[in-house]
Amino acid sequence: MKTIKNIGLITALIGFFIFTASIFTGTNNVTQEIFNTWTSQNVKSDYFINKAQQEIVGKELSTFELSSKIIAIAKESDAFEKGQENINWNKIIKVKWNVTSKNFVYPLVRASATGWVSKNQGLFFFLTFGLAIIGGVLAFGADYKLLGPAGIKNNGIFQHSATNRGYLGMIACIYFVAFYMLLYFYPNYLINPILSVNQISKGLSGNGSSQWFLYGFMYCSVMTVFAIRMFIKYRHNNYQLVRTSVVLFFQVAFAFLIPEILVAFNMPWFDFKNAWPLDYDFFFDLGKDWSLMSQGQVGLFMFVWGIVLTLVIVPVMVYFYGKRWYCSWVCGCGGLAETLGDPYRQLSSKSLFSWKVERWLIHGVLLFATLMTALTLYIFFAEIESWKELAFGITAYDVQSSYGFLIGSIFSGVIGTGFYPILGNRVWCRFGCPLAAYMGFVQRFKSRFRITTNGGQCISCGNCSTYCEQGIDVRAYAQKGENIVRSSCVGCGVCSAVCPRGVLKLENGPEDGRINPTQILLGNDVDLMELVNEK
């Protein structure tokens, strides 16, 4: 079994190695036709077009050469255009590290990719995704025997460098962060990985794959492989089995397949489970011709659904079941955290200091999201163009794009997922997600959900706190016999699973008695309990 596990690990690593190495092997050939299409859509400056025509068209260039040439020519061209007497601002390309590569360079590089990968997409898919998935399934499948009989088997977690911030954890962190940086800001360097899923994308929606399709497909594959790991690790625990199956289903069906199929039928790409304010750009395109409202009956339904989801369905469901119904049963971010992130859950900080930081950050993001959306709605109803200056030289577009950059990309992606191996698997959900903050208010103040503490059985061992991904000091409540009703609890159920004494149970019950601060626990003298607890 150990051999099978090692074979699996090596196979998966080979898949990852080929996937990663392919970034450095891309070649491009920009034909005249591709060049013309691209320039007609993206460039106004004749200086740029002439120069680029000479330097890149018809030449065999590596992806790195091509990308850096375009950026260099763009800078030159901007300098030239700015030197004119009458500056034509339309001709300025305005090079910015977090925008230019993905919006300007990427489309040309994607369209002009040549080389082995683009001609052998099927085989390349097998060598990357295929090997990684097969290897992962073998490696985790072997755990069925290796872990021993069903039960909590967290043996060695704090003695292994991958799960205890050792060098393997650091390497994983750097790899994740680098991947997210490329994905969000330099997709032009991910062309070969994107091509690996090109045929699948064509089969689903009819379009070639983009970096977002690659990301969606990776997300689903990673979640599936790690869900298998969860199924084996928690095979004695039905709550974990049901929850993992459901969250995987919502990711694959609602965040991946249904939106792609909608596109195939000429309808807008739409994730029915993604609620504002997590879906922060829901209102951005109001009034534009491609907005949901202008897409006929289906678009209108999607728009109304989105609003009902946030205003009615989310709070009502939180009232009955706690925010877990979303965070650890439906949400994509939560889904990744509960699968890929499960090996890292013990790394979340339980200190009081972290709790303070958490409250400032998450509520700050909720405020930011709300103000930004209010501004978006204001300019829509007041009929102001988003590029018009409002005050202090700032436009509505500036506010929207800085939210997208700071929160949407850096916080939720680069830090939120990239730092799993260092800060634990719910960094985004705990410190940043505005939807989690919103549901947290409902959960704390008006909900039937709680984690019940079982009388006086707690022995303060600390397994619950250690394995709480949200950094809740569960033991602090359990050892006082007090129910846990914290706004940040996502109801993953692991505290209850790892408790050796059967102290914790996630339940939905009457609000009366849900919050039960106690000084003295059940089992002590009845008179003393009454004296102290009912003072």
């Binding site: 967290n154 049901v242 006086g456 061992c461 706190s465 004494r501 000084q519 089992g523 003393l528």
Partner: protein, 450 residues
């Protein structure tokens, strides 16, 4: 300001300190030689197993003590000078107190076995034991086999610990079946199977003769008394129970028996000295409880109670209904009320075991009145408040079975065995008990209504 000094920073001493702080602004000092900060002894096993780091076993962050002005002192108390209200430390330093709380817990039993002090021979109680085990049994190359002597809760935990690092374990149990002085035969057999399932070499009905040493003073093998068999090993775990850790008191004026003798107010024979937790021995047993109870929660309850007395509200220690819990490898165990190893004359029993041999319940009730006396439950979690109410109100076994769904505390979506359990009871007892649907109203109501 009155100075309360507590010897021992375990659950008893720390609970007393916390509650005294809630009730007063007395000066409080906790003295410990073992560790700087309070930690949960019950979690030491998880540190060795890699489930946690040592700091995770500490329930309070280090700023907690200063914030609550509870002073911590690391020192070893050598003697108590009750005349002058003074402690003398091993360093020779004196330390005065106004009131003294002895909460020094237990120490592992050693029965004078030859070789019991060799290197690699240890209990599993103190933090130092954990460090020792890490030194002598870091992996299965250094420690080729470990032998554990004594079949109680710590013994099986230690077996689980070593097993987690793939170290072969031989487990010597004096009794003819695991823990059968406490557990009825069926449950004891269930745990025997669980131990064997985990590939632990369980030897029942045997005693330790001696531990042999190699040339360097390290344990190298043990001899079994009954068979004379020699088993080569590098580590020997001595887990034959614990006894009060009070050697330093024996020569003082404080009355001791096996533990520090206390009355129901947890007072010793000396006016301003108290004892709580594992080291305290009641003059007379409370109910069916033992005079000395080495249980986590009784230590906590004594701390809660004594704080009242010290802060001007003299309160007797009156523990409620007996309950306890443990985990045997992968099988969780809870008990509420009393289920003796052997039924008493007036008692009848009902036992159910699942087909997977990992779950069982055993109910003890009065033959004549049908009053519920206690339950053992294995692999099924039950609600403490439910059984506490049942015991207080002297409900019948029929009531308990009817409301078994209310009692269940397993996580959501777990397979429920209640119908099966009740069907078995009805068949065996010719009754017609029907399971009631789970009711939140009943579960959360303070009083019992049928």
């Amino acid at each position: 300001m009155e100075h309360i000094v507590i010897i021992g920073n375990g659950i008893s001493g720390v609970t007393a300190a916390r509650h005294i702080r809630k009730l007063s602004d007395k000066k409080i000092t906790i003295i410990s030689a073992e560790t700087e900060y309070f930690f949960s002894r019950t979690a030491l096993m998880y540190v060795y197993m890699g489930h946690m780091k040592f700091e995770h076993t500490q329930p309070y962050e280090s700023w907690f003590w200063k914030k609550n002005s509870i002073e911590l002192k690391q020192a070893f108390v050598k003697t108590i000078d009750t005349e002058n209200n003074k402690l003398v430390f091993a360093s020779g330093e004196d330390f005065s107190y106004d009131k003294l709380i002895i909460a020094t817990g237990s120490k592992p039993n050693k029965f004078g076995w030859p070789g019991q002090d060799l290197n690699g021979v240890m209990g599993m109680y103190h933090k130092q034991d954990l460090e020792n085990l890490e030194k002598f049994a870091p992996d299965n190359k250094t420690c080729k086999r470990a032998v554990i002597v004594g079949g109680g809760l710590i013994g099986i935990e230690m077996a689980e610990m070593l097993h987690s690092r793939n170290i072969p374990v031989t487990f010597l149990v004096r009794e003819t079946s695991f823990w059968n002085g406490v557990l009825p035969a069926q449950e004891s057999e269930l745990i025997n199977k669980e131990i064997l399932n985990n590939h632990i070499d369980l030897r029942l009905g045997v005693n330790l003769q001696e531990i042999k040493s190699d040339a360097n003073g390290n344990a190298s093998s043990i001899i079994i008394k009954e068979t004379g068999e020699e088993i080569a090993c590098n580590v020997v775990g001595l887990t034959a129970g614990v006894s009060p850790n009070i050697d330093f008191i024996k020569d003082s004026a404080i009355e001791t028996g096996r533990g520090v003798k206390v009355n129901r107010f947890l007072e010793t024979n000396i006016n301003n000295i108290y004892a709580i937790g594992d080291c305290a021995e009641q003059h007379e047993a409370i109910g069916e409880r033992r005079n000395i109870e080495a249980v986590w929660y009784t230590g906590r309850m004594m701390g809660e109670t004594l704080a009242q007395t010290i802060c001007g509200n003299p309160t007797e220690y009156k523990p409620g209904h007996w309950f306890n819990s443990a985990k045997f490898m992968d099988i969780e165990y809870q008990t509420y009320g009393w289920v003796w190893a052997k039924p008493k004359e007036n008692e009848a029993r009902f036992y159910w075991e699942s087909s997977c041999n990992k779950k069982a319940i055993h109910i003890n009730f009065d033959k004549n009145t049908r009053q519920f006396i206690g339950i053992n439950t294995f692999g099924i979690r039950m609600r403490h408040p439910f059984f506490d109410k049942v015991l207080t109100n002297k409900k019948s076994i029929d009531y308990v079975l009817e409301h078994l769904a209310d009692a269940n505390f397993d996580p959501e979506f777990y397979k429920l065995h209640e119908p099966e359990i009740i069907a078995k009871f009805n068949k065996e007892n010719n009754t017609n008990i029907k399971l009631k649907k789970k009711s939140w109203k009943r579960i959360f109501s303070k009083t019992l209504n049928a």
